[in-house]
Every structure is written in C-alpha cells, then in structure tokens.
Symmetry: C2
Subunit: 393 residues, 2 copies
Amino acid sequence: MENKNITLGVFGFGCVGQGLHNVLNLTERIDARIKTICIKHPEKPRTLDTKFFTTDRNAILNDPEIDVVVELIDDADAAFEIVKTALSNGKAVVSANKKMIAEHMEELYDLQLKYKTSFLYEGSCCASIPIIRNLEEYYDNDLLNSVEGIFNGSTNFILDKIFEEKLSFDVALKQAQDLGFAETDPKLDIEAFDPKFKLCIILLHAFGLFIKPEDVYNFGIHRLNDFDINYANEKNFKIKLVARCKKVNNKIVAYVLPQFVDSKNKLRDVNKEYNGIVLESVFSESQFFVGKGAGSNPTGSAVLSDISALTYNYKYEYKKLNQRVKYSYHSEEELRIYLRYKNIEEVDFNDFNRIEQRFESDNENYIIGTINLQKIIAADWLKKNDVNIISLN
Amino acid sequence: MENKNITLGVFGFGCVGQGLHNVLNLTERIDARIKTICIKHPEKPRTLDTKFFTTDRNAILNDPEIDVVVELIDDADAAFEIVKTALSNGKAVVSANKKMIAEHMEELYDLQLKYKTSFLYEGSCCASIPIIRNLEEYYDNDLLNSVEGIFNGSTNFILDKIFEEKLSFDVALKQAQDLGFAETDPKLDIEAFDPKFKLCIILLHAFGLFIKPEDVYNFGIHRLNDFDINYANEKNFKIKLVARCKKVNNKIVAYVLPQFVDSKNKLRDVNKEYNGIVLESVFSESQFFVGKGAGSNPTGSAVLSDISALTYNYKYEYKKLNQRVKYSYHSEEELRIYLRYKNIEEVDFNDFNRIEQRFESDNENYIIGTINLQKIIAADWLKKNDVNIISLN
C-alpha cells in the first residue's frame, strides 16, 4: 500500500479546522496539504492568508486537484449536501458530524458503494478514542456482546462538577458552556441526543444495523434535581449519562439513559470532559478505553488519523453488514429504574413489571422497580417536568 | 478486500490453543479452520480427536494447504525456528511469544519483507488491548510522545493483593501461580523481563526503532519489602510495575521500573491481572486503554483478531520505520527515585545528581533523589539484595 500525497479541501475553519491546519504543519509524516478552505463568513478575521479561503463550495467540490474533502461545519443539513456531492464526485470524505451521519447512515453507505469512495468519521464518535477503527479492525468478528459508555463530554463535565465540587446544575452548565464543552444548542447534550447519534453510528459498526436516531430511545439529565443528587450521594453512587447497545440471542437493544454507577463500575472514574467506552465480548471479556471526547484537539486528532489512513486508501469495510447471522433490533429490554415524581396521579404504575421499593414524603417520592423499555418509550408520564428516571442496571 | 478462507496449522495446544479452537467453533464470521495441531507430548490426553495431532513440525510447515501458522508454544528458541521456516515457506504467521519476537525483531521484519508474508502478534503485547493494531493504524503519524503502562498481569495481581488485601509478597505470588497468572519461570514476571519484551515490541511500532532487549533497562518488584510497602501506604501511593517509552526532541528513552503512583495517575486503578496503557500525543492528549493482559481467553481473542485480519490479507506496515525523521535511542534520562538500603557503604551516593531527602534508622534507610538512568544501569550497588529502587516520576 503506497503512501500517496493528498490534497485537502476543508469546509469550516473553526476550532477543529484551525487545529487540523496547525497539526498538519507539525507532522512530517502525513503527505497531505490543505489547498482550499470554504467558509460562510468571509469577513471574520482568519489566521491564514485570504488566498486559501472561498465561500463557494464548488471551488472545492468541483476541483479535480482535491482528493479529500474534510467536512467540519455545524449545520447537519448543509453538511450532508456537501458530503453527498463530494462522494458523488469521487472524492473521499472525512467528517466528524455525528448528527448528519446518524441521520443519513444508509444513504452515505450506499454512496460509498456506488462511487467507490471512502467516507471516514472517527471524529464523530468520542473524538480521540479510536472506537470505530477498533470496531472495524479488531472486533471484526461476531463475538462482541455489548458496547456502552459515556459518549458526551459536556454532560460528563457537568455531572462531575455536581458530584465532585457540589455545584448546582445551572452553575455547572454555565461553566461547561464557557469552556466550550457544550454544543451550540445545549439541549443536544443535556437531553442526550448527541450521545444517541454516536450510539447509532456504533450500532452500525458493532452489530451491522442501520438504526435511525428516532428509533433509539434517549433520556438525558435535564430533569436532575437535588433530591436525585442527594439520593446518589447517600447510596455512594455517582450519576453518569450512559449510552448502551447490547446483544442477547442475536437481538440488539440500544438506549441512552442516566445511570447510577457504583464503585465497581469502570465508568465511575471517567472524569471531566472525558469519554469512556466499555466493550464486552465473549472471548476477551472487557476492555475499557478512555479519552477526551470533545474539543478541537481531540476531534482534530481523530480527523488527522482518518486523513492519514486515506493516504493508504483506507475504507471502512462494514464487515458486520455482510455476516451470515443478521441481528434484529428490539426494545423489549427489562430495565431496573429509579423513578422520582411529585404527584402520585402523574405516573402510571401499571407500566411497571414489579415495584421493589417505594418512598413517599411531603416533597418528593420515588419508586424503584422493573419496567420494559417499550413502556418507557410510550410513557406519557415521562413528559412531565417533575418526573425523572435514572437507570439502576 | 475479499474475505478468503484460511487453513490453520497450530503449534501448541495448551490453554490458548484450546481456547482458540473453542472460539473458532463459536464464530460464524471468520472463515478459518484448524487442520493440524503440532504438539510435543502425544501422550497427554486431548480434548480433540487424535487425527488432528502430530509431533512432526513439517506436517504443518511443508503442507501447501496450510495458509497460516499459529505459534502458541513456550520455548522461544523453538518458536523462532518454526516461525522463520513458516515465513520462508510463504505462510503467514500469528504468534503471541513476546520473548521470541523481542529477541528477533529485525530478523523477523526482514523475513516478512523478503518472503512478502504477514506476521501478526497482537497477543504478544497486553493480550486483549489492541495496542499494536492501534499504533499501526490510528497513531500512524509522528505525534506520539509516550507510551507507558502496566504490561504484566502477574505482577499487577501480586501488587494488588499486597495493597488491597494486605497479603505478604510470598503469599500473593503463590496465589498468582495457583491461578495461572505467572510465567513458568516467575522471574520473567517478577524481575520485569516480560514487560520489557513487550516494551521492545512497542518501541518498534510506536517509534520505528529496533531495540534489543538487552538495551532496555528493567528492574522488577523482586526486592519489595514491608518497609517499602509501609512507605507507600503512608504517602497514599500504590506501587505499580511500569514500562515506559517516551520521546523528547526526537530522542527515545525506555525502561521498566516499579513506580509509586498517586491518586492522579490513571494506572493506579488498574487492578488484578489487568493491563493498562496510557498514550500521550501532541494533539489528542492522553488516551487510556485497560484490558486483561494474560490468560487463555484474552490472549486467544488477540490471536483470533489477527487470524481474522489475515482473511483480509492484513500486514503490519511498520510505517514508522520509514519516516523521514529518525529517532535516536538513549539512556540519558534523569529519574527521580526512592532508594532503600541497609548499609551506607553499599551505595555510591556520588551517582546521584541531587539528594532531596534522607531517612536513616536502625533497620532501613532511604534517600530520594535524582539520578541519571545510565548510572542506574551501571550501578553495582543495585546488585545487592537489600537494596531496592522505586521510581517517583
């Protein structure tokens, strides 16, 4: 496999774009250079000579000299149009846009097949943890049982501040935003859409399933209150926002939920804005990867690694799409959860299979019981602002 | 890349070999079958039909039907002869034999080039942590600064028992041996030869250097006594056996030493027989991988992953051997160490650059100071049984 020179066209020149440019200048090993950068706001002051910049996407998409398009913009819809065109024009693409990828996974896969071009997106999933590369290359058999982890650095940072420094939720959120750890729309982090998009991407590479984001349940930390935090502290739990997909008898279930984690759980000590992933497989038991999941440097390093792989014509094989045993996707998982509520009329307790514990008081109440995920998905009672759920398993 | 069927010849049928056979039966995804197994002791009862077994190595090495040789024997010299012949006969090879590989790295590389065959050995380094694959594929640029970690499960198990369960060294060692966590010759673990062999392999894939084992300094936990353990406990340290290689200004240093680790060190919570690796790079800061480093299942999973990769004609690229900037290897690192001794005449304190602390008592004495690694390598005083060193940085 020869090392070839590649010419890059970059969309977006924010933190990640600038970081990428810096590191490409630092490394001698990678034969890649940025030729053109397409940006939206030409009036913004830039750290590079204006000759690099354009506002015309076709200056990159139609330039035969450009081999690889690097897509680093926010707008998922615009990103998809750019990526679609680039692949159709025979250019390889590197992206870190989890929302765009999760929403268009099957179409992007078809485009790669049709135009025989490579689309790499390590930066879309837990940034500097090379999870996609590992799922493709090392876990390319069918013995993987589960992948779970902390996929969102912003909410982990907030939870860490709440539990380690005893900050309130609002103060912790503001600190996260000030440090640039939160998405432009914090709801994507706080309500667990961001980790869900990443989980969809992982479902494809771990189990060969195309699952649309709307078919993966996500519930975030937006309802967390002091009562929940006190409960956790009393029981010596921390609370982490955990994305999980697992296989039982060739059936796959996936969801994102806040979870009480005890001292035996590896994810407990994943701190600040770090991400952590635990993989369990039949043979090698468990592996645990930790790395920074957000920020310009960690994301940039993942983008850099993909660019480097393209100098060797690397492509995802999506081997699990072609395995003989197809897995089916379902939501019939029984979960053990803590449900905290104010008014007894708010909740339909019949949804629960079994209630193990019940606590009632003047202010807050909770139950702990087992409930089918499908009931949680359908629950109207979960729409009420003074109801919260946290997983216990 | 097509998925091809491969026919395996296996040398050795101990724990790893049997585990591999079991898992090949479990997975539908990997088109590989074991045709012949070469063993040394035909009289041993086996779990398989005798038709699979032979004592004649040429029954595998000269069989044109066999594509891939899997080498899973203890004897490093015999293993090298087998691997050399297999590669020369155009067969791909999978091995987990760190001693053999570390001692013959350059020759094995030359054989791969000459005969254009693939030699994979993920199982040789920290078993189920895919470190070699990651160094080859994800960290294939020159921005890696350091790789360090706990590479030996047996000594980590022992140290864990000492610090968590307050067992004595001898009792902990016996437990490790009873559980099968120690090498046949425990000296390889206890005196840190085993992690050194792994470090040599990592030096090749991380920094493109062929370093012979005799040129990497190793000092193990064989001198650990109660005084050292009490000191650690008083200072809220644990003791871990840490292998490290790092780059400063294009110069690489590598060594294995016991180290005091505080609560900020990620390696502190790597428990029992687990291995842990911390990678620091310019761009993505640090990543941390944890997994079981020994035992038939974890090693077998690494072997399985290599076999699977061979169905896609995977080869190590050894990209770092061909980079423009060559690194040099040296031992001029200044270390900060704790040196515990009984008699003042035993130690040459002139070897130290600076002594920061000195403790003396009727029984044991220690100093803490800075010393050049070259001085440690040359130190006669370190040969004395009542002298111990533990690194502090």
